[in-house]
Amino acid sequence: MLDLLRELTALDGVSGDEGAVRDYIISKISGHCEYETDPLGNIIAFKKGRNRSVKKLLADAHMDEVGLIITSVTADGFLKFAAVGGIDTSVLMFRQVKIGGVNGVISGKPVHLMSGDEKKKLPKPDSLYIDIGAASREQALTLVKPGDRAVIRGGFSLMGSRVTAKALDDRIGCAVLISLLTKESEYDFYASFTVQEEVGLRGAKAAAFRVAPDAALVLEATTAADTAGVPEQGMVCRLGQGPAVSFMDRATVYDRAYYEAALKSGIKCQPKTAVAGGNNSGSLHLSRGGVRTLALSVPCRYIHSPSSVADMKDIESTERLAEYMINGICSGRIE
């Protein structure tokens, strides 16, 4: 699982440009299940189990990550950009980026040249620019085009039982889903690796329509604010306590019976104690005539940053709980 996660997070897949992640996932699941790629770039897979399912279940993880898109090049050869997905300006400042094979750094005014007030507030995102070392617009345009995606570089480090990397949201979900597809399954189920989650839960709309499931299980990463100085009721969820199971967020009211079944499973998990954020469930549960949906989210500190932190033990619990829910729903044991 650790190697899988290391390789998945090293891939670049800003929303709408998920090709590298898709190719990697296909290389891993090929031979273990049937799959196709839809017009948006989603992978839709069918896993044959030992038994037929009484309910058609779709397990989903999204392939894309937040990042930047190049909008224009200045006369001096600097690149202007827009955010793709939710990225805070503090996370952008003075970061190393990669635009295809071209390296760059997000640049701005050094602290010495700022007034006292300037030092205290974040710069406007549109005042930042990427320096690739080009001396002119002409030189820059030979290497980079408007519309190219930029990824903020992030290393992969172990911190005890925890890992820090970029794009844990949602390569964690991809890793768990790959693992579920590549081992024997008790029941048949469908899986989708979707595009464009970070720009409005878009890939999942098409995937859900195509599969037309009775039930959906979203494998995600969610904000954990369990750090020093945060009161317990503000933590959302905590690392090491298993996946966060949501009853409601800004995009979805989850299926109550599935929510309760997950909490009663005996597998380590925790309720997500905030009505915040959203994930592909928002699209899945409203597909066609409605789909009963549950999300299992791996607690992740500093999400949407190149230094996100998650606990490997939570990823293992998530896989076990996902398997439990798939088998329960597909067999009819969980109603």
Partner: protein
Amino acid sequence: MDIKEILFALSSADALGSVREAAELSEKFLSRFCETRRLRGAGAVGFLKGKSDYTILLDAHIDQIGMIVTDVDGDGFLTVSNSGGIDIRALPARTVTVHGKEKIPAVFFFFLPHLSDGKAEYTDISKIKLDTGLKEKARSIISAGDYVTFSAEPLQLVGDTVSGRSFDDRAGAACLLKTAERLSGRELPCNVIILLSDAEELGMRGAVTSAFELEPDEAIAVDVSFGDGPDIPENECGRLGGGAMIGISPVLDRALSDRLASISEENGIKYQTEVMGGKTGTNADVISVSRGGVRTCTVSVPLRNMHTEAETLRLSDLESVCALLEKYVLSGGLMNA
């Protein structure tokens, strides 16, 4: 080694307080070309003998900006204070290296704006804690007083542009190491001391004591200065690729500035002047008033994003600095002036 290899090796090594990787690397490099000596206040010092007793001191500081641990709590979270000037706004979600009993990666807190009510503060570094992920085990590896450094590895950009951490002032250090290599084995008109001074970012304290001990006749402080960029006033910066920045200031020796310029002209070395109204913010400020006074000038490398992990420069400017220092020393400096 070419100048890029030296710069990248020095950038990947750290030097801050008791962390001495870059100093040790410099000393090892220097010892291949000249006599070295340990000196309080210096990371490394090299001596190149010349034909006269006249001594030119070439200085670059080996220390870097960073942080120091002030508290380790029982859950593996650290409180730090800055060591040198740091842009606190750029710390959230940044991975850094804690130099404890072993090197540990750690991440600065970052809260999504919708969870912090948009009330994030960037005035007090002690409020942006560091997460080691090690829980209660952190206390057995990290103690208050341990140093913390940035972790970005050097990166090749387009052409000869490069970016990385601690280029302030590993750029200067790389130039001095390269200059020592170029001067070694040559017949020199005067002595040259290569000083990799310590603690510049903490009030130039290393240069104060080192200059006193070394008693040079003249000195050149090689450091970085502000490079150009879209929101940098043109009169406050040097142009990347514009060559060595030769300082002119009331606190510097004007004859030395002029001599550096004329040596550049004579040898076709790219240079630009950097005119300042007073103190230079470099070790030149303290070396010039060491003992009974030392004729001093600055030679600077234009650098973008100073004091961040994205310090960016052009290698051609380092080459200009190396060429200028070499030719200047071979000319005897102000020895006969």
